[in-house]
């Protein structure tokens, strides 16, 4: 599993910008960013280098941020790549809380999924390739 940086943002002008600024200030590079919005607040989910240091940098800037373990599954960058993974999850009754995708270099697509941690073995047995943290981002040296 990899660490996702999760940030809670009240629906106010300039809050997303302050997240970006704080990460930039801390010299942290982002690889993926997805926003979930509701009428009153938003949740920003980020894959970035040194996620724990990033969460700390955001907390220091007065933001509510934390790291969350999620699955990063490599799928082929071809039509049907995601379908294969989702059909498998459905078949095995793995409940997906949320998900998003990004491309990693030329090596194909990465699907990020929030599923119960117990799903790891099921996915592996199903032949899915989990991407390790170091393949995606720079690790925290702690």
């Amino acid at each position: 599993m990899i660490d996702q940086l999760s940030v809670f943002l009240p629906n106010k002008k300039g809050t997303l910008s302050s997240v970006a600024a704080a990460l930039s200030e801390a010299d942290i590079n982002m690889h993926a960013l997805a926003i979930a919005d509701t009428a009153e607040y938003g949740i920003v989910r980020i894959i970035c280098d040194t996620p724990r240091a990033a969460a700390q940098a955001l907390a220091d800037a007065g933001l509510r941020a934390t790291t969350t373990p999620v699955f990063a599954v490599r799928v082929p960058n071809t039509p049907g790549g995601l379908t294969q993974l989702l059909s498998f999850c459905e078949e095995k009754e793995l409940n997906i809380e949320y998900g998003y995708c990004f491309l990693l270099g030329d090596e194909g697509a990465i699907d990020v999924l929030k599923i119960d941690a117990a799903a790891e073995d099921v996915l592996r047995e199903g032949g899915f390739e989990m991407v390790s943290p170091e393949e995606i981002y720079q690790l925290d040296n702690a």
């Binding site: 996702q4 999760s6 940030v7 809670f8 943002l9 009240p10 979930a36 509701t38 009153e40 607040y41 949740i43 989910r45 907390a59 007065g62 933001l63 509510r64 934390t66 969350t68 809380e97 949320y98 929030k114």
Partner: protein
């Protein structure tokens, strides 16, 4: 025009004599029939026979709301149930309700007290009065109703709610006087205007008797303008009686205290020493005629001052200024009393939520709104909307069931709520 000219314009000296006679009776009645009153007086080393002048009341101990809670339900009743004709109760949102009993005489005097206000806004036996206070355990509805009946008005017991119908009745029945909370009066006025009426010109209404919650001068003026009425502010509290303890005459500079039934003092809330007339402090009331539930030096927690200058209206009863605040942190939201401690109690039962909180009070479309800003604990998973929504829903439901008012929950980022030095600014009242 006065409802009871001989009492309301009684010369001051004569009124003070009447007060002393009644105070002696009342304190003795409380001392002899309520164990708690006897106990606190004995502890303070005073007894009813020490009362030789009105000022001697300052030797007596205070009573507070907690005493009423502790005595729940009937520990402070001074008469047998045989003589109790009605029981009102507070909402009890702080954990324990408080009860107040009324004998036949108590109810009749209550009607008289409120009736004086009906005359103050020009009412008489010919008037039609619409009572849009809630009827029930809350004293507003039945208190105003009793006033209307004492005068001999045609009383319309609409109670609160169904505002379009309130407007319809006000127009069709030719309501002269409306009694309700200020915010509801304004809501009725706005609804009438929305329906295409100009109540100030087209409706017969000429007076309003409004109380049970604070109202700014701007709001009062808006009500006067929109409805075309004289505004009578009514003060009262269920522990002492209900609405009618003090009422505002046409001079609109303070509320005449019903001094023949209640003895007011203003004390410094810190030292509890009396302050001179004209200075602000906490209002303390000793009842003079209450039979079922007499009170000795009851601390109301309401902050006001006594206006002792003679009033041009001719009434000799001294006035209190409008209530400017509370000596505790009680909030009044749509007529419901809410203490921050109640909210705190609910929050502490939610481990997901930090104990820092802020209450924001606003008024939208004439209705009070209460919002609660809270932070989640660092280990609460903020990445899932479902969990956040679930937390908001559970917290909202728990607050609603405890406070009986709807609270909007805002989860905020850390440190937006001031961790203050010493006393936290927990309440932001933007009304």
């Amino acid at each position: 025009m006065y409802y009871q000219p001989e009492i309301e314009t009684m010369p001051r000296e004569q009124l003070r004599e009447l007060q002393l006679t009644r105070m002696k009776w009342s304190v003795k009645h409380a001392y002899e029939n309520i164990d708690f009153v006897k106990k606190i007086c004995d502890e303070a080393g005073v007894c009813p026979s020490d009362l030789n002048s009105l000022e001697d009341i300052t030797k007596f101990p205070f009573m507070v709301k907690q005493d009423m809670r502790d005595a729940y339900p009937f520990g402070l009743f001074a008469v047998p149930m045989h003589d109790v004709k009605r029981i009102h109760a507070s909402s009890g949102t702080t954990g324990q309700a408080t009860t107040t009993g009324h004998t036949t005489n108590d109810l009749a005097y209550w009607g008289d007290c409120f009736a004086r206000g009906i005359y103050m806004v020009g009412g008489s036996q010919d008037s039609v009065i619409q009572v849009s206070y809630g009827y029930g355990l809350f004293t507003g509805g039945l208190g105003a109703h009793a006033g209307g009946e004492a005068v001999g008005c045609a009383v319309i017991p609409t109670s609160s709610g169904n505002t379009k119908r309130q407007v319809q009745i006000m127009k069709d029945f030719g309501t002269d006087i409306l009694a309700c909370t200020p915010s509801y009066a304004l809501y009725i006025a706005d609804t009438a205007i929305e329906l295409g009426y100009d109540p100030a010109k087209e409706f017969k209404i000429s007076g309003v008797i409004l109380g049970a919650e604070p109202a700014s001068e701007n709001m009062r003026q808006e009500i006067r303008d929109k409805l075309g009425v004289q505004y009578c502010d009514v003060y009262g509290l269920s522990e002492v009686m209900g609405p009618g303890v003090a009422m505002e005459c046409e001079v609109a500079n303070g509320l005449h205290f019903a001094e023949d039934h209640f003895y007011p003092e203003i004390v410094d809330p810190d030292t509890l020493e009396p302050v001179p007339d004209g200075e602000y402090g906490e209002l303390v009331i000793t009842t003079l005629t209450r039979e079922a539930c007499p009170l000795v030096r009851y601390r109301t927690r309401d902050v006001t001052r006594i206006i002792s200058e003679p009033c041009p209206c001719g009434r000799t009863h001294r006035k209190i200024d409008r209530i400017v605040g509370r000596t505790d942190d009680m909030m009044i939201i749509r007529g419901v009393n809410v203490f921050p401690s109640q909210i705190e109690q609910v929050i502490t039962a939610f481990p997901e939520v930090a104990t820092h909180y802020q209450i924001v009070l606003t008024r939208e479309a004439q209705l009070d709104k209460i919002a609660l800003n809270v932070e989640t604990e660092p280990d609460f998973p903020i990445d899932e909307i479902r969990k956040i929504e679930d937390l908001k829903r559970r917290l909202g439901a728990e607050l609603k069931s405890n406070l009986q008012v709807q609270v909007d929950i805002n989860l905020v980022e850390p440190k937006t709520i001031a961790r203050s030095e010493g006393k936290a600014k927990r309440i932001l009242d933007l009304r």
